[in-house]
Symmetry: C2
Subunit: 362 residues, 2 copies
């Protein structure tokens, strides 16, 4: 069967073996005579799926026991509202600090400013978010309810290599584009959230990891299904949830375990990114978009020195089965999103094409 190397930023490619497994049992899950997508969220079969997903996530991530795993409606952007609604009430001043490193960080900050007093504690906007800005946690007021950052910036191709130590102020991270792609010390965070559609599964839901002592602070008008404590009390089954997305996530986690877990996939991810960055840095024909020290391992952004060649590059790549390489309109150029499911062969094929394209057009 024809399968392209899909470099799209998300919804992103899923491992082929995961897709095959889901296809093979699509109409008949565990010999039930019905698909998982067709049965109750309160069935014993789905209960086993969500329990297994919890178990695998804890095993793979090493998540500390004092964090709750929540499966929340609406993707990461819904959490841009839910995070302030759940956390900004921790202190009467209703203050939060945002670290602005790109489009999604800005959107999160703008949404939060509807619910409290928001400070931009650091930003790299002046250089079009080509780097991670300096940030001094000591500059924060002690009554700041939380600090928000975006750990990997999908559009600009940067990431936080080291996370700031915010002491007693909970650090909240949008990890949509890199959760489970790298090892983490979860104890540095108060909450982490991620839309599923990059490294975890299909679109339409978010995973929220919440330190349990931070639950119970929701603002009075928080919609019930944005109140994280409602999810915690019901094991994310207050209402019908996105059963198929959780099932797909379960299959993705089983696959990740087969790959050797997060440490193993992190090593592969670093090799994949190194292949591409070496190809970019070895010539003046291509120009990397992000500062080297802050380069993302998930989204490799670059331009062709002669931008007139971009359209031909993208069109030829597409014909070779190197799909969805077009950069986001905010930066232009080329973006290779190489999440966990992208095999190293995909990156090698892209490098080969880059060198060939340069030879013919350089």
């Amino acid at each position: 069967m024809k399968r392209v190397f899909n470099f799209g930023a998300g919804p992103a490619m899923l491992p082929t073996s995961v897709m095959e497994k889901a296809r093979d049992e699509f109409l008949n899950f565990k010999d039930l005579g019905a698909g998982l997508i067709e049965i109750s969220h309160r069935s014993k079969e789905f209960d086993a799926v969500i329990n297994r997903t919890d178990e695998l996530f804890r095993e793979l991530s090493g998540l500390p026991d004092n964090f709750k795993i929540l499966y929340v409606h609406g993707g990461a952007q819904m959490q841009f509202s839910a995070i302030p609604m759940n956390l900004i009430g921790r202190n009467p001043a209703h203050k939060a600090a945002y670290l602005e490193t790109g489009n999604f960080a800005s959107l999160a900050r703008k949404e939060a400013s509807r619910y409290g007093n928001i400070t931009v504690a650091a930003t790299s906007e002046a250089t079009n978010f080509d780097r991670i800005p300096d940030f001094n946690p000591a500059s924060l007021d002690a009554d700041t309810s939380y600090v928000h950052l975006t750990s990997n910036n999908t559009i600009f191709g940067t990431r936080w290599n080291q996370f700031p130590d915010t002491g007693d102020i909970p650090l909240v991270a949008d990890m949509t584009s890199e959760l489970l792609s790298r090892q983490l010390d979860y104890n540095k965070f108060g909450a982490i959230f991620a839309g599923l559609q990059k490294n975890l599964g299909p679109a339409g839901m978010a995973l929220v990891l919440m330190r349990e002592d931070l639950l119970g602070n929701a603002l009075p008008y928080t919609p019930s299904l944005l109140d994280y404590s409602v999810y915690e009390k019901s094991h994310s089954l207050q209402n019908t949830n996105n059963t198929f997305a959780i099932y797909m996530m379960c299959l993705v986690l089983e696959w990740l375990k087969e790959q050797g877990g997060v440490a193993a996939i992190e090593a592969i991810n670093e090799k994949k990114a190194a292949l591409l960055y070496e190809a970019i840095d070895s010539t003046d024909f291509y120009i990397g978009s992000a500062h080297k020290a802050d380069r993302s391992v998930m989204n490799v952004t670059f331009n062709i020195a002669d931008p007139e060649l971009s359209a031909a590059f993208l069109s030829e790549a597409d014909k070779l089965g190197l799909y969805a390489l077009k950069g986001h309109r905010l930066v232009g150029g080329i973006r290779a999103s190489i999440y966990n499911a992208m095999p190293i062969e995909g990156c090698a094929a892209l490098v080969e094409f880059m060198k060939d394209f340069e030879r013919r057009n350089g």
Copy 2:
């Protein structure tokens, strides 16, 4: 392949031909070399899917042009918050009236009471929601922002056969369990919403049909992704949406069109329900749960006169491939959910089993 007759209340069975089509192109949508679930919500391929879904829905429903079709995160229960947040501000008194006909109507009323002054304008709670209560629209204050009802009550097996005329006060209907199962005069309504997981597709999203003049009244603290005008302005693409659910809905609508559309499926649905209600009414062995005048065509609820026999009934039915017939814990007994995708053969098989079970135990 083994396929049961799945009588579950939802997430519910999908037409087998729809499931087969989704399976067959799961890894390779339109020869793209990637599945629909793996590609961008901003791709031209997904754009064609969502446009076709709009087009089919309008064609099948006859929805008037002044209604907007919105694909909203979070299922029907998320709309229990979003409806008051979007509509209760229409009048300064922030009043709304709720017609209480069951569990979901009550949940909707309780959630709304967090955002305004809510009146229960009619209720059948005193008889455990076995009927649709009398309701006089003339009893409403003129500055009521909207009236909310649940058109079909999944748990109790009742439905509104005739909808009240609320004049200038917009009527809002939760039609989760019957949208597109019956013909409707949409002009009677201000807004209609439905979780997809009964007649429209898989779980994890809601369809909202909104009269356009009612948009733009959201309360100031409404989360952006619960503000219907945000969906209207972005064609439901403000952020990554549940692409796979919309795709599955598109396939379900194509199937419904092949069946002859809503009038044709309504006639079949009435035959299916009549088969079951005749079997219940023709004996004292079974007892229908709902008042005859208000019986649902989608959810047929009944008890065995000797409730001790229920466990054996359910266990034997399950062995025959009559799946998920257990009634909801609030009413007990037996519930056959017979949405659009349930073939008449499923109802006939259930009737045959009911008669056989009665013969052996009566």
